[in-house]
Point group: C2
Chain length 260, copies 2
DNA sequence: CGGTTCCTTGACGCATATCAATCTGTGTGG
DNA sequence: CCACACAGATTGATATGCGTCAAGGAACCG
């Protein structure tokens, strides 16, 4: 246990209003107890933390940097399952299946992560219903994301996949903002969407024609409803436009939907 | 509540050694309480139980028949997320996200399902840790399946996808058995694997050359290691061959793997 | 600066979707 | 009991969208 290092880690991060779903709503004591049992560790870019087929010993929480989880075949091709930013966790599912990891976990930058030992987790879940609920919500979120990933790969054209991804990021980073940033490098996003970097790049060309300005990692929305092309029923429910504005939106899928 | 109808439902089904993960390890009283709050209902083939974007009111448990969950785009194309056989449940995830369903749920035959009301579920989870753990395991299983689905679609050739699917079914139905059955019609399986029925059919042609006999829904393994071509690291861990037999297996991915 | 990594753009080929015809099995009604 | 209809599966021919390969450019870092 590298207890001392935990001082480095900004306290605010773990607070109930922080970014990390795993700590949401926990008391200060609970938090303290988790941290006492955890270790903070630095990893270099590209390091493998867990390999596909391994039995993971920790839940990994990204404090600084980023990571990705992926599967690979015998030819060495890889498919990115998740891209983890600061505050994201990984390996909850495997821990609870008591089994082996279906993915490899790898840092994509020099990063710092908190490692929470799996035996402690299993125990703590039974003691703390709020913590159990947090784990449940994280898993539900992962599952939902993977369903949308399947949808993107099989049901959408490359341009639609990228547009849909952009729409999600736009909503996450505040839908009143006309500008947002890509949190990962383009080739990683492309792989996550099941397309090659080349195809991703060509899709960007299409999106530029549709009223987006793309400048490195920065995306600016020039035409107000540009991303609304890519909205689906699920996402429309979370649309923050006023009901009046929704009616004006030329693409909103709620218009055609029947009322129940 | 159609309490009387519940008498019809074979009691053995719900026992702790039954097929349904959701009821595993529950006491007779707990079981009774769940059933008292549930309804048994008949649905015709092709009926829609929940639509993508709806807020589901129940967890659905298949008692007789089968169902599938899928997403569709505006062109009317569909991608099958899950195929539900007897004993399978659906909509747990949406219930716990407190949100809307990302998929449409549809019966694929005339079927009977038990409907467990969502408010009851939410309440019961807090009272009964075993039940909470069951839900957690179900969600983890769904997530893992969806990861393998992504893997199949992006990393495998059509023949490999089908072979891998066959291997899973073979293991599920008893790996000492040289014969197993497809639990759903081929076109549904094809859609689940992200390929067309035509491509699925052509993949079957390849598999026949590799030592499989395919007769309608029945698959017979003529050459002992025929399906081992399609094994991956995850699956190898669950391989029931003895360690000696594994060494003889010409395709086992464990042979080349480095020991940790 | 010079090297590396990432992104972009263009030309080409192939694997799988699409389209179309035939075959098989199964349930239905005369 | 047979004939018919229909859904599903198979097989063949064709088309096309995306991957692959290759070259050039931009940004970043030591």
């Amino acid at each position: 246990m590298i207890k001392n290092n935990l001082q480095i880690w900004p306290r605010a991060f773990s607070s109930s209003n922080g970014k990390s779903q795993i700590f949401k709503g926990l008391s200060e004591e609970s938090l303290q107890k988790i941290l006492e049992n955890s270790t903070l560790q630095h990893f270099k870019k590209g390091q493998l933390l867990v390999q596909q087929g391994d039995t993971p010993s920790y839940i990994y929480l990204v404090i600084k940097g980023s990571a990705r989880s992926f599967r690979s075949n015998t030819d060495g091709d890889e498919t990115t399952i998740r891209m983890l930013a600061v505050g994201d966790t990984c390996m909850e599912t495997s821990i609870f299946m008591g089994g082996i990891s279906p993915v490899t976990l790898q840092t994509t930058e020099n990063s710092q992560l908190i490692l929470i030992p799996s035996p402690f987790i299993k125990n703590f879940v039974l003691q703390n219903p709020q913590f159990a609920m947090n784990i449940l919500k994280i898993m539900a979120q992962h599952y939902q994301n993977s369903i949308q990933q399947i949808d993107s790969i099989t049901l959408k054209s490359p341009t639609q996949s990228v547009g849909y991804y952009f729409l999600q990021k736009h909503l996450e980073q505040g839908s009143d903002n006309t500008e947002f940033e890509l949190p990962f490098k383009k080739s990683t996003i492309a792989n996550h969407l099941g397309i090659t970097p080349e195809t991703f790049s060509r899709a960007l060309g299409q999106l530029k024609k549709m009223g987006l300005e793309i400048e490195g990692e920065k995306i600016r929305i020039k035409e107000a409803f540009a991303l609304c092309h890519f909205c689906d029923l699920d996402t429309a429910q979370n649309c923050t436009l006023s009901d009046i504005a929704k009616l004006e939106c030329p693409h909103c899928p709620l218009h055609t939907g029947t009322h129940h």
